[in-house]
């Protein structure tokens, strides 16, 4: 069964396939970038490499959940991006009813500037 990185935001549970993730870390500081598109919080450093931090709740029109916020680094080809997830993370088998998030949809939302409301 597929295992996902699951987290709960204000309106529901969401998940990312572990294969789409390269790693998770505590949210350290990030530097805002003036003129950045909507959904881009700024830049951070991960293992000596700069990463673009995306506002996941903002991209999917959600509100933060409970728990310490974390950074979720996406896997290639989006390994230059990291998602800001303000919720507790856990690894579970794919829950029935959870909303699966695809990195491509999130990147498209950033590119188009429109909030991507994924289908449940």
């Amino acid at each position: 069964m597929e295992r996902r990185l699951v987290f709960s935001l204000a309106s529901g549970s969401y998940g990312l396939r572990l294969e789409a993730i390269s790693g998770v870390a505590e949210l350290s500081s990030f530097r805002p970038v003036p003129g950045a598109p909507r959904g881009v919080l700024g830049l951070t450093e991960w293992g000596g490499r700069p990463l673009t931090v995306l506002d996941l709740p903002g991209l999917i029109d959600e509100q933060p959940g409970k728990g310490d916020p974390s950074l979720v680094r996406l896997a290639a080809p989006f390994d230059h991006l990291a998602l800001y997830v303000p919720a507790s993370l856990r690894v579970e088998e794919a829950p029935p009813g959870g909303t699966l998030l695809e990195p491509t949809e999130l990147v498209e939302a950033v590119a188009t500037g429109r909030t991507r409301v994924p289908a449940p």
Partner: protein, 413 residues
Amino acid sequence: MQKKLAAWFLTVAMLYTIVGVAVPRLQADPFWSTVLIVSSDVVIGLGAAWLVSHVLTRRLRDLAASATVISRGDLTRPVVQSEARDEAAELARSFATMVESLLNVVVEVRSTSSRIHESALALSATSEEMNAATEEIAAAAQAIALGAERQAEQVSETSAITRDLTRSVEDVASSAREVHGAAREATQRAAAGAEDARRAADGIGALADTIASAAAAVEGFRLKSEEIGKIVAFIRSLSQQTHLLAINAAIESARAGEEARGFGVVAEEVRRIADDVSGFAQQISSLSDEIHQGSNEVAAGIRRSVGAADAARDLVERASGSFEGILSSIRGTETRSAEISRLTETQRGAAEHVARSLEQISRIAEQNATGTEETSSATVEQTASMQEMAASVHALARTSDHLKELISLFKVG
């Protein structure tokens, strides 16, 4: 004179006897004897009478003539005197002496009359002056009487006012005594209050010290709670890091595929343990937060209590200071009220003395007014008397003039 008369009477008696003896012998007829006797007796008697009267009245006539001259006022005519030693001569000599004395008296009277007249005139002038002066005195006495009466009225009014003042002073003295008593009582209460304030300040100070000690202890608890919080936070951070590490392990396990499945299981167990640790750390953190919050609240409460105790101590100390100031003021007030009470008592005594003095003055003034009235009345009477005296003096002067006129009738040289 008696001897001569006696001799004449003896002679007449002898003649009567001789006739009475001789005629009957010479005339036998009784009728004619009687007629002869009677006729002889008559003749003898008349003759004797004429001789006696002639002898006696001659000097008396001289004296009468002198008296007539004297009656006309001429006292310069000498009185005919005789060297005889009978009563008539004696009478003439006495009459001459009398005339001489009368002359002297008239002269003296004239002189005295003149002096009296002059004195009467002077006395009249003096009496008129005295009358005028007496009238002035009467007017002045009347004015004095009126003034004395008004003075008596004013003194009476002043005495009444002084009596009212004395009563007011007595009331003030009574009030001063009451104030003094109240000040003394207030002093005692203020002293007791100051003592209570001092004890309260001491107690609050001790309470503040105790609270400060408790605050220090609570502060220690709060610091320890903060340390616990820091440790819990560290544990939570470790747990979070472990959790994330386990997730990363699961991610790597998923990448590694089936061969890394066991690693994924271990990672999952690690993650679960980390979650449990995180849960416990969260509980500890919650408890620590509650303790910290409670400690903060207690510390805040203690600080408020300390602040309140300090404020209360300050208030009590200020109150104690105020009490001391009040006590000092009340003691000063008590001293001043005692002084006021003493002074009012002195004033009351002085007012009473003044009242009694005024009453005495009032009585004296009334007596003076009465005496002045009497003096005025006496002066009026004196004036009347003076007027009467002036009238009498005028009458005396007129009498003296009349006397002079009368005396002037006498010719004295």
